[in-house]
Structure formats: C-alpha cells, structure tokens
Amino acid sequence: MQIPSAIVTLVIGMLLALGGLWIGQNINLLPIDASVNAPIYDELFQVLFTIGTILFVGIVGLLVYSLIRFRRRSGQLGDGIAIEGNLPLEIFWTAVPAVVVLFVGLYSYDIYDRMGGMVPLAHDHMAVSGEERIWGGISSGSTLTDNTAATALPIDVTAMQFAFLFHYPEGDITAGELHVPANRPVTLHMEAKDVIHAFWVPEFRLKQDVIPGQPTQLSFTATRPGRYPIVCAELCGPYHGGMRSTVVVDEPDEWDAWFSSNAKTEDTTTT
C-alpha cells in the first residue's frame, strides 16, 4: 500500500525546515566578529540564511522533481492536465511570503535598532563637530549606557585618494592606522576631501560612505583585540583597490601606552 502523499509532503516539509535550521546554525560564512554589533549582525545573518536555504532547497527540489516526474516519456503524445489556476492555493502562496518578508523586515528593524542605526544622531556630539550638520551613519550600540557613551573616544577620519588619515584630537596624534581600545565606544567623525569613499571594516560589520561636503559620524565598540583590514568600498579612482588600511584593536592598557607614547601634549588622562 502506498503512503498517502499528504504524509510524505509533511515529512519532506519537516525535513526541509530542520535541515534549514541545522545549516543556519552550523555553516558560518562570515569573518570573525570583533565589535559589539557584529554578533547582532550574525544573528540576522543566521535567520536570513536559514530562511533562504529552506526556500531555495524547497523550490529547486520541487522544480527538479517536476522535471523528472512529469518529463515526456517516449510514446507519450498527449498534453498535461488543463489546470488554469487554483485560487486558495494562490492566496496561500501570496500570504506566506508576505508574512515571511514582514517578519524579516520587522526583525531586521529590531537588529538595526540594537546596532544603533535608528538612534537619531546624538546632539551631544554636536559640541565636538561644531555646528555642522551630521549626515547620518550609525550611532553607538544601545548596549552602552549614557555614561559610557559620554566617554566615547572621538577620532577624526579624513578619506582621500587613496588613503585614510586618522587624527586623535585629544592627543593631537595623526596616524595612518586606526588604533582603538577594546570595549570602549569610538566615534569617528568622517570627512572626504575629493571623491566619495567608504569606510568598511568587515570584522566590525560596519560600512559608511564618506561623502565630500557631508561630515558623517560612525560609532562602534571594538571587542576583540587584533588587527583588521579597513577597506574603501566605493569606487574612488585607479588605486581604489589599494586603498586599504588597518584597524588595531588593543587591550585598554596597551592602547593607553600607545596613546601616551604618541600624544603630543602629555595629557595622558584620556577620559
């Protein structure tokens, strides 16, 4: 006796969902995470990857099955079955994707909020950058309290063809590499001199265009000490591919040592 196809469908659906969940949990395609918002980003990636896998395997499986099961065998001359539509079925496959994309949209809104993207850019930073309008970017993550946000390390970033320049106003240091302490929020005040550049640290999961005429602010908190690439991600000219730098994340005391040995004014009270 044949197994009723409703049961077969159910089992296949369950296997698909479980397989998708397993793949989402166990396959990691991202570089290591080195900032507060990177693990939050990875959560979103996992959810998207799970849903994507289930959909892709399901649709391709259905397609391949149809092609094999319903292929024209030799000697078959007739047509298929004249089914022109099925309204309940069509409503079903309109409603399910609508619910899924709505869920994904709201979930990613929540992720974005936790990454600090929805925070209106802080007005207390206005003092630092004068009365200039800040054009966007990501504010520091909401895991930070107001106290720690106040101690954010300000760094001026100048992007130009084909390098990034980092200037620490507190110690009057100018550097070609970005040195930041771990576990302390950093606020980059970014400006471009010539064309559009983009500041991207893959391990931080952060990217912000640096646009001439639009000072932009980007906040992040590094967590994992190490050296990570800074990449320019917006076509900026012939040497665009070579416009790379490094962000060095130090333990706080190592960073203090670096800072005091480079600071022009011997004001080592960095906070």
């Binding site: 259905l62 089914i83 022109e84 309109t94 929805m118 917006e234």
Partner: protein
C-alpha cells in the same frame, strides 16, 4: 503562340524596402526585421561585453594589478556594465523580442509607429560604437556605470561626456520603444481581442514600457545636469561649488532600479510563453500573473534608495525602503510559484528552451533570496558595494535575463528562420552556461561577505583561490558561447526544416508561416482568445497514459 502575361506580382515590382539579406542593414519598418536587427546587434555587443568581462576576470586571477593599468581596468569595468545593460539586455529583452512578438500577439500587421521603431533601433549602433571607440580615441569613462560624482567630474572629461552622450541616445531609443509598445498593445489589438486574453508577454511589456517612459527621462535629465557640471562647471552635484552628490544618487537610482525590472519583467513574460508550450499545460494563474506584474511595476518605482543605505540616508527612509523592497518578493514569488504549478502535472519536453528556462528559475530564486537579504539595512551595511552585490545582480541579470534570452532564442529560432536548432548542441550550451555561471558567481557571495569590495583591480591575497575559481567559471561561460554560435550559424544554413508550428503552440505567431510573410498573415489575423489552451480536461484524461498517482494528485 501567345501567352497571357500574368499581371505583374507585387514582388517583382520595384519596392521601397530592400528585400533579401540587405533588408537587415536597411531602415526597414517591418517589425520582424527590426526585432532581428535588435537581436543580432545586441548579441554582437554581448560578445564585446563578454570580452570585457574576460579581461576583468583575467586581472582578478591574481591579487595584484598586473594585467592592465589601473585606470584601464576602471574603463573596462565601466564599459562592461554599460554595454551589458544598455546595449545587450535592455535592447534584446525589450527591443528584439518585443518588436518581433508584440504585433503578432495583439493581432496587428506592424507596430503602431513603424518609423519611430526603426529610428529607435538605428540609435543603438552609433551609440554603441561611440561608446566603444571612446576607449581607443580618448580613453573611456572610468567612474563605473553609475558615474557617481564627484568621481565622474574629476576623471578625464572627454570619456565621461562620450559615455553620457551614448547613454542619452540609448535612453532615447528605449523611450521611443516604450511609447511604441504601449500604443501597440493598447490601440492596435485586433477587434474582439480583450486585454485579459493577451499572452503574458504583452502584459510584461506593457508594465516594462510604463517603467521606461516614467523613469528613463529622469536618468536623461540627471545625465544632462552631470554633463553641465563637467563641461560648464556648474555645481549641481559638485560639493566644492555647493552641490550635493547624494541628490545625484537619488536621481540615478530612480531610473536604475526600475532598470532592473526593465531587464527582468520582459524575461518573466518570455518564460511565461515558453513554459506552457513545452510543458503542454495552461499558464497557471493568468490573472494573478497580470496583477503581480503591475504590483512589481508600482513597487519597483518606490525602492530606489535601497542602493544608498550607506550614503547617509535618514533612518525613516532606510526603514521605508527596506519594507518596500522586501515586499517586491511577494509578487515575484507569486510568479515563480505559478511557473512551478505550470510545470506540475505537465508533459514536459526537456529541450534547450525548457532547460534554459528552468536554469533561469534556479538562478533567479537564489538572486531573489539574496535580494531580500540585501533589502535589510543592517545586512546591507556589511555587504553593500562588495562582491556579494556583484554576485547578487549577476544572478538577476545573467542568471535571470540572459538565460531567458537563450531560452527564447531556442524557442523562437524556428519561427525566425524556418529551421530547427540542433538540440544536442543546445543542451550542451545550457549545461556549460549553467555550470560556468554558478562557478563564476556563486563563490563571489563568500568573497563579499569576507571583505572583498567590488570594482577593485587588486585585493587581499587571502581571496586568490576563490577568485581563480570564479575566473575558471568565467572561462567556461566564454567557451559555452561557441556551441551556440556554431549551432545558430550552421542551423540557419542546413538545419532541419521546422514547418510553421514545430511546438504545436497556440499563440498567434505560430499560426502563420515560418518565417512569417511581410505584414504577418496572408488574409485576416487569427483571433486567439485562449493563448494557453493546452492540456486535456480532467475528465478526458487518457487513462492508459497516466498513473494512479496522477489521478489522485489531481483530486480524483
């Protein structure tokens, strides 16, 4: 002996239009000639664009910039994008198949404005030649096909201006075509043919043409302003003169996002024509297909800022464009489920047209899934302007549109020429293209996630192996063109004669001779009220040819 001299037939009298092969090089107003002009011209530019892609993949086979100078690399990537979009995909999915098929589908003898139609085509070769020769004369534009200022203002001006002029010409051609399609579909329908009886490709072209007419003028205006900035030193987009570069991005993407649908919606329409014929089943869910096309048109106009999530757009704008973009997945999903349902229970002939269409479904589903992911602001912030995006849009425009173009060539070649293509070579072509394409662009998702930005001539050496795999895939795609070219040329000369209707199709272009006569039908145009009337009704199902499961799954 006296013989009654028959009255001179029209074919021997002097004609205004050249006949024979010469008509393909003439200002012909026959929509079929113009369609094939578009197709062959587009394919020649595809070969050029493909050679440019080959140059890019050769450069990227090693992590240092060693194959060509860096500024040449930027010229090459700019030309590659511009040629592939404006000279290959847009003219072919719209101009070529639209011109050839739409008059048949509406039961007309030609397009509404035949001369405008010919003008629209003849704008393309000079524009394309101008673009290509700019590389040899002055150096081509090197600011990418997006031409973002201030880069496009500060790079060498001559190449950029020639780029703007040629894109303006191509945009004009596209607008002329769009107006023509709208007029033809709405006004030239054969008496008795209702809108909801039109083949799906007509609806796709109607939607596409609406997008073309609404959004292309915005691009044209933007590029004119950009050229003022370059030539006359105005300050629309020049920040040092008080201009705003983000405004350019808004205006550019207001056209260029709909441009994706201009490349993809006609492909959806073509697939909707091909699948029912070779699966021998009616197109599933005709009415919902029509509504989803129109939903894609409306939504496609309000999602452009998702290309600018890192450009300092305000949070509310990011949220709105995320939701709007993600919702395009709903009508698109409907179309894919409808195609799967069209295949389900069919008698599917696994020929080249069908296999390319199914390759399109696989590739486009993957491109669509990464598209929904990219719509999410936090996800996009990491992968924006990286190889992940490169992989995504190649899955849409190559895996989607180009696969459909090939499927369509296999499907309509018998109508174009009266001869069949070789199926074995066609399946070889399909297999090579599918494997090469996925080998080339699949690994690029990983590259983008792990830190390789797009449009670079040099990259971090840790990505070398994956880039080389990608380049091998590109080589395979280049090789896959050879069996196709051989097949097309050889079959035109000595292919198996096709007869009028080799697929037993019901749409009107098959109800005339192959190739069709001038003005399409001898006598009156047929009235096709059910273009997808394939299949046997459930109660007449041939019981000997079906299994018990067939009956069970169809609800008996």
């Amino acid at each position: 002996m006296t013989v009654a001299i028959p009255p001179q037939t029209s074919s021997s009298s002097p004609r205004l239009q050249p006949t024979g092969w010469l008509r393909y090089f003439s200002f012909s107003v026959d929509h079929k000639v113009i369609g094939l002009q578009y197709l062959v011209c587009g394919f020649l530019f595809y070969l050029i664009g493909g050679a440019l892609a080959g140059a890019i993949r050769t450069e990227l086979a090693s992590p240092v910039s060693d194959f060509m100078a860096r500024d040449v690399y930027n010229q090459v990537l700019t030309l590659h994008g511009t040629v592939m979009i404006f000279l290959w995909i847009v003219p072919v999915v719209n101009g070529a198949f639209g011109n050839y098929l739409i008059p048949f589908y509406v039961g007309a003898r030609d397009m509404a404005f035949p001369r405008l139609n010919a003008v629209a085509f003849w704008l393309i070769p000079p524009a394309g030649l101008m673009l290509i020769t700019s590389y040899f004369l002055t150096g081509a534009a090197q600011s990418g096909w997006t031409a973002y200022p201030p880069l496009s203002i500060t790079t060498p001006a001559t190449g950029q201006i020639i780029w703007i002029l040629s894109v303006l010409l191509l945009g004009g051609s596209s607008i002329f075509g769009g107006i023509n399609f709208i007029a033809t579909i709405l006004k030239l329908r054969r008496p008795g043919l209702k809108l909801m009886q039109l083949p799906m490709y007509c609806w796709a072209m109607l939607g596409t043409s609406i997008l073309v007419v609404l959004s292309t003028p915005v691009l044209a205006g933007t590029l004119v302003l950009l050229s003022f900035d370059i030539v006359a030193h105005t300050g629309f987009f020049n920040p040092t003169l008080g201009g705003n570069v983000v405004v350019y991005q808004h205006l550019f993407w207001f056209y260029s996002h709909p441009a994706v649908y201009i490349m993809v919606l006609p492909a959806f329409g073509l697939v909707s024509e091909i699948l029912p014929v070779h699966a021998r089943k009616p197109l599933f869910g005709y009415v919902t297909m029509v509504y989803s096309i129109m939903a894609i048109v409306v939504l496609g106009l309000v999602v452009w800022a998702h290309h600018m999530f890192t450009s300092g757009t305000p949070p509310w704008m990011r949220l709105f464009f995320t939701i709007a973009t993600a919702f395009i997945a709903v009508p698109t999903g409907i179309k894919f489920f409808n195609w799967l349902a069209t295949l389900w229970g069919g008698r599917i002939t696994l020929n080249s047209a069908m296999l390319f269409s199914c390759g399109f479904i696989v590739n486009f589903v993957l491109g669509g899934i990464t598209g929904v992911a990219l719509a999410q602001v936090p996800f996009d912030i990491h992968v924006h302007d990286t190889y992940f995006v490169v992989a995504h849009f190649h899955y849409i425009v190559f895996g989607g549109s180009v696969f459909v173009i090939f499927a369509s060539v296999y499907h309509w070649y018998p109508k174009f020429t009266g001869r069949m293509l070789n199926e074995d070579l066609g399946r070889l072509h399909c297999a090579l293209t599918f494997i090469g394409f996925n080998l080339c662009f699949g690994p690029q998702h990983w590259l983008g996630l792990n830190g390789m930005p797009r449009r670079v001539a040099e990259y971090d050496p840790q990505f070398t192996l994956i880039n080389q795999i990608s380049s091998v895939g590109a080589l395979l795609m280049a090789i896959s063109t050879l069996p196709f070219l051989w097949n097309v040329v050889q079959s035109a000369l000595s292919g198996k004669p096709a007869g009028d209707n080799p697929w037993n199709a019901l749409t009107p272009e098959w109800l005339t001779s192959s190739p069709p006569p001038v003005e399409n039908w001898i006598g009156e145009a047929p009235l096709v009220e059910e273009p997808y009337g394939y299949g046997v009704p459930m109660d007449q199902l041939d019981l000997t040819a079906t299994s018990g499961r067939d009956l069970w799954s169809s609800g008996k």
